[in-house]
């Protein structure tokens, strides 16, 4: 391919990108013109002279990946992808930021359209890039991951955590282009950000490169990117000095960041770049012709379009782990998880398990399979004490068809909720192993004891939250997680949980099912879901509270009552069931009480009364806490008696 275009055409293409982007923002009367005007040269060099990809075949396994971490600048990316011949029309550009358009206000994952991940929340794209770089190395690919970002991305803690980790792992296939424009929304960057960022990245073992004039010196951008690609054992970051809003009257000021330029300034801009100010969404014939040829060239001699598919692997693995179920010994669910997860990791080639320095507590260690800077063939990755980066990196890993399993204490979802939300939004297939799932972790006390965590997870769309009650449900939970094309949070106990003899990995796939009725003989025969007659009360419980609910239902206090116990490991799956099924399990005319050692707020959706914990926990021994917070048979029975049902 002819990469040495004449300078005039280069400039015309770059200015076309600039003007298209500004027209988009102007037409939608909403968006961010400043970044596209500054970053168009980088975008051009990257896509037209550096990256390996094919617009006619956008899912090529070995394609280079591009991530726009400063996602608010997406008008520029859409303009670029449009010119390159991805499946955008000029009308799509005109519908920028309109409902149901393919050009929304921040990039939304759609690899077929050149959008590798959703971005917007700052810093996430850098972490996603680290995850992609790890996946690429694990799969033995030779591609590169390019991340464009701004000041905001570098200020965010998640980018520090990720960059420190990328330097540690010597990810030389990762290249950041930093739009070093010296401007943030609230003013000049130096009102808050005066660290020596170059030195900081050097301290984290990055290859630091500099482009002193990113507004016009495209050859320098090109040369520095070539240097970055040659890095042997370090990720690279290019500090590209640009002028935000380059070419317009308010260039270099915060005011051009996030609002349309207005008609007059747009006209002035077009004049500055020698465009006809009467024309909108204009692409010169020479530019069109260039990209027609470019697309042809890109289509030549490419490898097979092999998308990584793990569906067959997953079916096989799920069938194998069905054999894990309750046996004589009861386990903590974190322990049964450990056994099952090791089996899964043994059978599944494309999996990366890890923990934020709590592998011994989360029980996620995979034996003899460590990934490190010298070897990415393994299946276990130590993330260090970096929950936020870990979960964001997992999102990046998952885009390659590798399943990331990441773990920490449940309470510490507070450190990584942004990427969990992004996983829900983007339906990334990520499995979170979240242990120490209630105050019953004991002595570590309220900073470590989840109260609100389950409610938080259940309130995020598309995230499955599963709290199994024993080994059988633990196995079922992994089966669900492996088959679900989205993120799943597995909520596991530190303490040993009794076997529930009627738990069922198949029934649990409906989210909730009857595990016990006190007037039946359930210890021998599991209850049919169809017997709803003569029920006095239903107790709905999850995880460690299922066996407690069964004990309560068997209390001599209630010997004249028929009490059903429903295990509800996954509210989201239950919500998907038919009204008929719901009426069988939780009939409207029977009083229902939830029992869960956590916030009650989310339970009124399913029950009439809730039994939970709506204050913070306490440091103490587990049995003392059970008594103090009322999670004993006696105290639950007393609560029920008072209701006079």
């Amino acid at each position: 391919m002819n990469t040495k275009l004449n300078a005039e055409l280069n400039t015309k293409i770059i200015n076309t990108l600039r003007i298209l982007s500004v027209d988009m923002v102007q037409k939608s009367n909403s968006g961010h013109p400043g970044m596209p005007l500054g970053c168009a040269p980088m975008m051009f060099v990257l896509w037209c002279r550096i990256m390996a990809f094919d617009p006619s075949c956008p899912l090529l396994k070995s394609r280079d990946r591009f991530i726009l971490s400063n996602g608010h600048g997406c008008a520029l990316l859409y303009s670029m992808l449009y010119l390159l011949g991805y499946n955008y029309s000029i009308d799509d550009l005109k519908k920028f930021r309109q409902l149901c358009s393919i050009t929304p206000g921040h990039p939304e994952i759609n690899a077929a359209l050149g959008i590798e991940v959703s971005t917007g929340p700052l810093g996430q794209g850098i972490a996603n890039g680290v995850g992609m770089a790890i996946s690429s190395k694990k799969l033995g690919l030779k591609n590169h991951i390019y991340v464009m970002c701004g000041d905001g991305c570098l200020m965010e803690g998640v980018s520090y955590e990720s960059a420190s980790f990328a330097g540690h792992l010597k990810l030389n296939n990762l290249i950041i282009l930093y739009d070093d424009n010296g401007i943030t929304i609230d003013g000049k960057t130096d009102i808050t950000f005066t660290e020596n960022t170059r030195e900081r990245f050097k301290a984290m073992h990055w290859n630091v490169l500099e482009v002193s004039n990113g507004d016009t010196d495209i050859e320098d951008i090109y040369e520095k990117l070539l240097l970055a690609k040659k890095s042997l054992d370090k990720p690279s970051i290019l500090f590209v000095k640009t002028t935000i809003g380059y070419g317009c009257v308010n260039a270099g000021k915060s005011s051009v960041h996030g609002a349309p330029l207005g008609t007059i300034a747009t006209e002035q801009l077009k004049e500055y770049f020698h465009f006809n100010k009467e024309e909108h969404f204009f692409v010169d014939e020479e530019v069109q012709e260039y990209f027609i040829n470019f697309k042809k060239e890109k289509g030549r001699g490419r490898e097979e379009n092999v998308k990584i598919s793990i569906e067959n692997d997953i079916e096989y693995v799920v069938n194998e782990i069905k054999y894990f179920k309750n046996c004589d010994n009861p386990y903590a669910t974190r322990d049964s998880s450990h056994i099952i997860l090791n089996k899964i990791a043994k059978l599944l080639p494309n999996i990366i398990v890890g923990s934020a320095d709590l592998a011994e507590s989360n029980k996620t260690m995979i034996a003899n399979s460590m990934i490190d800077a010298t070897n990415f063939n393994g299946k276990y990755l130590n993330y260090g004490v970096r929950e936020h980066a870990m979960a964001s990196i997992a999102n990046g890993i998952s885009t390659y068809g590798i399943i990331p399993v990441v773990s920490t204490f449940l309470v510490f979802i507070t450190y990584c909720l942004a990427p969990i939300r992004m996983a829900g939004l983007s339906k990334h297939k990520v499995i979170y192993v979240l242990t120490h799932d209630s105050i019953f972790l004991g002595e570590d006390g309220p900073t470590h004891q989840p109260i609100e965590s389950l409610t938080v997870l259940r309130s995020i769309p598309n995230v499955l939250t599963i709290r199994p009650c024993d080994t059988t449900e633990m196995s079922g939970a992994y089966q669900i997680a492996l088959q679900y094309n989205g993120p799943t949070a597995l909520i596991l106990s530190r303490q040993v949980l009794p076997n529930v003899y009627t738990s069922c990995m198949d029934k649990m796939k409906k989210g909730a099912y009857t595990v016990y009725e006190s007037k039946s003989t359930p210890l021998i025969n599991p209850i049919s879901n169809k017997k709803n007659k003569n029920l006095d009360l239903i107790l709905v419980a999850t995880g460690s509270e299922v066996s407690l609910a069964i004990e309560v239902s068997n209390s001599t206090l209630f010997e004249n009552k028929n009490i059903r116990v429903v295990s509800m490991p996954c509210c989201e799956l239950y919500d998907l069931q038919t009204d008929e099924y719901k009426e069988i399990i939780l009939p409207k005319n029977v009083t229902k009480i939830s029992i869960e050692a956590g916030a009650t707020l989310g339970w009124y959706k399913y029950v009439n009364y809730t039994y939970g914990i709506d204050c913070f926990g306490e440091s103490g021994k587990m049995n003392d806490l059970k008594d103090h917070f009322g999670f004993t048979v006696e105290k639950v029975c007393a609560f029920i008696e008072k209701l006079s049902i």
Copy 2:
């Protein structure tokens, strides 16, 4: 005071701290012995030779502050405070990690007992220290803030954000003691953390000091702390090389981090330090005598114990802002917030308002009152794009009696949920201004549109979440926030909200109240809360949905029905009301529907049917989104009609 103790006594005190800590862990059969064995020399030098404080008068305004960011090592801190003569008995040490003891598993805020903030979640303590250093400078105090931390704290993104900001602000009154022991829970630190941390801190403009033998060279620790105290324009970090578990058989290994040593290893340890292995919780007479004298010395010549009290200021300010209420012009609540907040900031000396680089969007700018490295007298602080640090720093600021007001978009609580949770747990008086409170922010799309956020905040104990419907409720919300001794989240609209003519800042203090009944004449006279007869339906709404609910209730479709609209700006306050009040506002026998543009999960507690958004948003114009997601009068009416109430 005699600071030049003989070396033998120093060593004896340090070893007493070590053995006391190990005995505590051993007796409770739970805890972390590794850190106390390594950090006892630092702890001794700091408290016995460096810090200014008085155990008899622990709340002295000018005292130096100590934060144990690696809070799991708290056995060491309790031992130290016990010896110093804070109000701990030897029995309190014996009750370590027991329910209702004053020695819980991680430090829990109690300044009278020497615990300045709750710690445990790693990295938070460093950010808290930055907040305290800012408060100290604003109040013109000359004290120092000392933070002890471990590898985990430095790996966390929040510590990077905070450290970068501290360097920017030249906080020379902040000193970190980094327990550089080379060990994390999952193994040696270098399995994940190989950056050059010293160079990184230098790049962030920190004064970097080194102690090569922190296990025994207490004079070096002392000298380096003296140097740090003399820093003119930089915060300081001491890299103190220690041996985790110093003195015990598994010294230097991860295994000594988080589990009791066991009887045999404890006996060996006591022998190593020449303690009687038969004795437990032993304090030598010479050591006791030393601390009796020490306490006497500390009590001499101290200043007045002036605790900063802002209660009178707050009462005055609250009375003043009562005059802000609906006038002719309707406002976006972010705009009415801007006006009221500027009034508050003008009247209240001890306030620091700030934003994570979104001041122009959050409308939190306070004119002509900027805080920067050269001037801490102001009332406005730019935090940069650092949501996590901002909220954690706010917790630290609040401990000095200064009210921090911090702002970002509502959706980005995902970046700072850990410090919001800590604020709830510790009852820090922090005000969060969270704008762009629903999908109606429009074009920025689903990464910026909150869905689950309100449910998340409402599920955290002790956090008040207030979503006002107009200017009057906005004013009431600030009154509540200022008077509440804990954290309050104010949830504000980007778009203009119509005035609700019957909104009431006094009634809203009960969390929910009737704003309208369709068969009354509410536009003239506010409805009395006592008329519950002949109600057909109650609509419960918050924020932007209150006026929508009133419009719905007035629809000609329902002209034969009496529909009440309840504004419920704060669920948490409503929960505190009497059953009688609740029965007046939301009587059991009337059908109730919630209307809120967000997740419905938490609403079933109050209503029979919910109307909300349980999927992610879309990029588009506000009115298109209102139609698409059903937030128009027509679509809400259609929903209600289908219910056939």
